[in-house]
């Protein structure tokens, strides 16, 4: 009986609402496209595009979710990503792409370390510290670029960067394999959720066709999400991340090194931002000093859409990615269907608040029952 209520709750509005919202939105946009005689909205190419557009925010969002689960907050991710992109584009011509990418990520990690040390050991609220680094790091980008756009001009370096970012990865067979694995797992362990996931994945693969391929960042996002999800779900480290956010003192007195976990979250967040910055720099082979400005809010909005609590102790990276996809589906829909770009921000904001309201009201009701 317990099992039954478990999977029912798992498919309920509060647990799976973000997935329903994403599906409903896609169906709605497809319907509008059809009624206006536009090309099919749910084409493999367009869906791949949405995922591509969401990939950078998704990567940062996954790390942000870990951050929020531990009970901290990072506003500086977009600035850090821009800094990493600037370091990459600035150094790549002289030291080559791989070393420049490494330097970019090391730079990003050092900002994360700075944030974490100040928050943990000086004891200043993460919101304030990262608000400071948001501004300061953006200033550093301006200093480094001298306020102008930087570009990579060597064709062979540019080639490497484009190869890293824009290679299209064929996904038909990998997706089918994943679907079969999920279904086999579901049948073997008698679980509902992986079975549904397998069906969805198989459906998508068959719908997209044998030539389906996506840009590399989508694969990076998928791999990173899978890795973090597995760590959170299956490892002791994962449980301790939730415990640190749920009750730091209880975790500490249970022998958990709370400082290390909180510091680790800052480093992960900045490293992910650095990687996103590298991808961003590669995308254009150039960086302008205002690149990615404001993206941190989209990142946090994705996590909130995915139901991550700002108070720590709860959150899911899969849902954060779904949240990012939802936000970029909205953006994409407004563009492709020409629904009036002026309404876009308004609608996005309302969606975030509505999602938070659903989670909060659902949470209260559960507590009251």
């Amino acid at each position: 009986m317990m099992q039954t209520t478990d999977w029912r709750a798992g498919l309920g509005l509060r647990k799976a609402g973000i997935y329903y919202a994403l599906l409903i939105l896609l169906a709605l946009l497809a319907g509008i496209a059809h009624s206006r005689g536009l090309p099919a909205y749910l084409s493999a190419q367009n869906l791949g595009n949405i995922a591509y557009q969401a990939s950078l925010v998704g990567i940062m969002g996954v790390a942000m979710t870990v951050m929020l689960i531990t009970g901290a907050f990072d506003l500086s991710v977009a600035s850090v990503a821009a800094l990493a992109a600037a370091v990459l584009v600035g150094l790549a011509p002289s030291i080559g792409f791989p070393l420049a990418a490494l330097a970019a990520i090391v730079t990003a990690v050092s900002v994360g370390l700075f944030n974490g040390v100040i928050v943990q050991f000086v004891g200043i609220n993460a919101f304030i510290v990262t608000l400071g680094t948001l501004t300061a790091v953006r200033g550093l980008v301006l200093v480094l670029t001298d306020g102008r756009s930087l570009m990579v001009e060597q064709p062979e370096v540019l080639q490497q960067m484009l190869a890293f970012e824009s290679t299209r990865v064929p996904l038909f067979w990998p997706l089918l394999a994943l679907a079969v694995a999920l279904l086999a797992f579901a049948a073997f362990r008698r679980r509902i959720a992986p079975g549904l996931g397998g069906i969805v994945v198989a459906g998508l693969a068959l719908l997209a066709g044998r030539d389906f391929a996506v840009a590399a960042p989508v694969v990076y996002l998928a791999l990173f999400t899978a890795l973090v999800w597995a760590v959170l779900r299956f490892t002791v480290v994962g449980r301790r991340i939730y415990a640190v956010g749920g009750n730091a003192e209880a975790a500490r007195l249970s022998g958990v090194n709370v400082h290390a976990y909180k510091l680790g979250a800052f480093i992960l967040s900045s490293a992910a931002a650095g990687f996103a910055g590298v991808l961003f720099g590669c995308r254009l082979g150039a960086i302008n000093p205002t690149a990615l400005q404001g993206a941190e809010l989209t990142v946090i909005a994705s996590a909130i859409l995915g139901g991550t609590s700002l108070f720590g102790g709860a959150g899911s990276v899969l849902k954060t990615v779904a949240g990012a996809l939802l936000l970029f589906t909205l953006t994409n829909g407004f563009n492709v269907l020409d629904l009036g770009a002026s309404y876009q921000g308004l609608i996005e904001g309302i969606v975030v608040i509505a999602a938070a309201a659903i989670y909060t009201i659902g949470g209260n009701r559960r507590r009251a029952a």
Binding site: Y242, A243, N247, A251, L253
Partner: protein, 546 residues
């Protein structure tokens, strides 16, 4: 002798939306000028009843009459307006505001400075014999004084009935005395007081009549003068509780630690075993929940090196350098008032106090000074405040119990099994291992916190007030478990404000005052009053000693 009842409940019921029945028809009559004690085990329905009286939740059935008129308060505000003030256990004050502003929180009006309000606050403070400075910041006050502020806040509207939910649970002896004095004063002034408590002695000395709840029913209603502790305890538990009485040392298991390495097999852990019933096959210890009994003698304390040795362990301003040894199988009690350094000592041993200096040796090996290293070495701490230090409310019973586990991967099946075994061995009342600990009652949550450490790797238990705020049944379960574990060789340091507990189960008792161990006492030759006298120093007699 008694006039018309002020408040009368007849058959009050409460059924939660999910079908849980909290109250099954409670009758209760309160009179002006009388102190009425309300007791019951955790989960008996006390909190629900208080919330119904306070107007915080509606009753599902039955009748509430106030001054003879049937009433149905729709909100706490309505109840307050009628003259019912409720002081909750977890004192809901705003720590960043001053005392007077906290007292005026309820008042309507436009201006922050309220001269009439301040005058009233002054008057109320005068009633209580001015226990605090009106302009002090509440966050700066000690917890006992905060309790006074909460009482003062409740008295602002001059209520006819004051409901106090365990007002002394978090207070030390002399602070409790102040609360008792206030309660007596209020009753003398004609207020009715409903006094909810776990402490039988204070119920007996303070109240005029007593109601005991069990399973949502009022199972006992009597004049306090006709009752004694045993009668109340029996009503609470529903069975006759053998009071926790000390056995002479000769009768108990000898201090018989297994040699290194064999301990795992001898102890009745469930972590690796398949069934909890398979416990302690070697030393004939009966199942722990049934208490302890003699087991074959086998050597004394002197033969073994001490399990724990402290060398000049101290922390500036909190704990004077302390040296002591604890042998395997020994329970060392630490008696002291709140702030005497007793928790600080445990935290210093556990490495949770970064300022602590000195050495901690376990089985002769020095232990690093962080909680991680202590846990790795087998030191376990059950902290004082379980809600903020002991468990993660949002996590399940199984996850909380598995929290100290290290290694790379979680092992859900094993963790579930361990949780099920813990639920059975400690008699934890819970739907299952997947229930969040935040939904459990105090005693059951505490059992989960203790269960967290019952692994074969634990070499030393540090227990900080493990029985605070929990009902007598759970309390006895926990104390018996500690004794049983010690008899299997696991030593423990036990801090408790209930000195009778220390006398009941400890092998020796250290008395602490002002961060200093001032005496070592043999529990066989001391009594509670003597301990209180030593520990409380300037307060030679408190309510607890009476």
């Amino acid at each position: 002798m008694v006039g018309a009842p002020l408040l009368q409940l007849a058959g009050v019921e409460k059924v939660w939306p999910n079908g849980t029945v909290a109250l099954r028809g409670v009758d209760l009559t309160l009179h002006a000028g009388r102190v009425h004690g309300l007791l019951g085990a955790n989960g008996a329905g006390k909190s629900t009843l208080i919330k119904v009286l306070a107007g915080a939740i509606p009753a599902s059935g039955g009748m509430v009459s106030w001054r003879g008129e049937p009433v149905r308060w729709a909100s706490p505000r309505a109840a307050r307006a009628a003259g019912v003030a409720t002081i909750y256990q977890h004192i809901p004050l705003v720590p960043t505001l001053s005392v007077v502003e906290n007292m005026l929180l309820e008042r309507a009006g436009g201006w922050r400075a309220d001269r009439a309000g301040r005058a009233r606050a002054k008057e109320v403070a005068g009633l209580l014999d001015n226990p605090f400075d009106l302009d002090a910041l509440v966050g700066d006050l000690p917890i006992g004084t905060r309790q006074m502020v909460a009482i003062a806040q409740g008295l602002m509207a001059d209520p006819a009935l004051l409901i106090m939910d365990e007002p002394t649970a978090s207070l030390a002896g002399h602070e409790r005395e102040r609360v008792y004095a206030v309660v007596r004063l209020l009753a003398a002034q004609g207020h009715a007081v409903l006094f909810v408590s776990h402490f039988l002695d204070e119920i007996l000395s303070l109240t005029d009549e007593v109601t005991v709840l069990r399973d949502g029913r009022a199972v006992l209603h009597a004049q306090t003068a006709d009752l004694d502790e045993a009668a109340i305890a029996a009503a609470i538990a529903g069975r006759s509780v053998a009071a926790l009485e000390r056995r002479p040392r000769a009768e108990r298991a000898p201090l018989n630690p297994p040699p290194e390495g064999e301990g795992d097999r001898q102890r009745s852990w469930w972590w690796r075993g398949s069934t909890p019933q398979a416990s302690s096959p070697v030393d004939n210890t009966p199942p722990p929940a049934c208490g302890w009994s003699p087991s074959p003698s086998g050597g004394g304390l002197e033969q073994y090196p001490p399990t724990l040795e402290l060398r000049d362990l101290g922390s500036s301003g909190k704990l004077a350098p302390t040296s002591l040894t604890v042998a395997a199988g020994e329970i060392v009690g630490i008696a002291g008032m709140l702030g005497s350094g007793r928790s600080e000592l445990l935290h210093a041993i556990f490495g949770a106090d970064p300022a602590a200096r000195g050495a901690v040796l376990l089985h002769g090996k020095p232990i690093g000074r962080t909680p991680e290293e202590s846990v790795a070495a087998g030191i376990a701490l059950v902290p004082e405040d379980r809600a903020t230090q002991g468990f993660v409310a949002g996590m399940s019973v199984a996850e909380n119990i598995a929290l100290p586990r290290t290694g790379l991967f979680q092992s859900p099946a094993q963790e579930r099994e361990a949780a099920l075994a813990a639920i059975e061995r400690l008699a934890i009342k819970v739907q299952g291992p997947d229930a969040p600990v935040g939904e459990l009652s105090g005693g059951n949550a505490q059992k989960v916190v203790i269960a967290k450490w019952l692994t074969p790797d634990t070499r030393l238990l540090l227990l900080d007030e493990p029985t605070a705020g929990i009902d007598i049944g759970a309390r006895t379960d926990i104390l018996r478990l500690i004794r049983a574990l010690a008899d299997e060789g696991l030593p423990a340091l036990l801090v408790s404000s209930e000195f009778e507990e220390l006398i009941g189960i400890c092998d020796r008792i250290l008395v602490m005052r002002d961060g200093l161990v001032i005496a070592e006492v043999d529990p066989e030759t001391t009594d509670e009053a003597a301990l209180i006298q030593r520990a409380s120093g300037n307060f030679p007699s408190t309510g607890m000693a009476a």
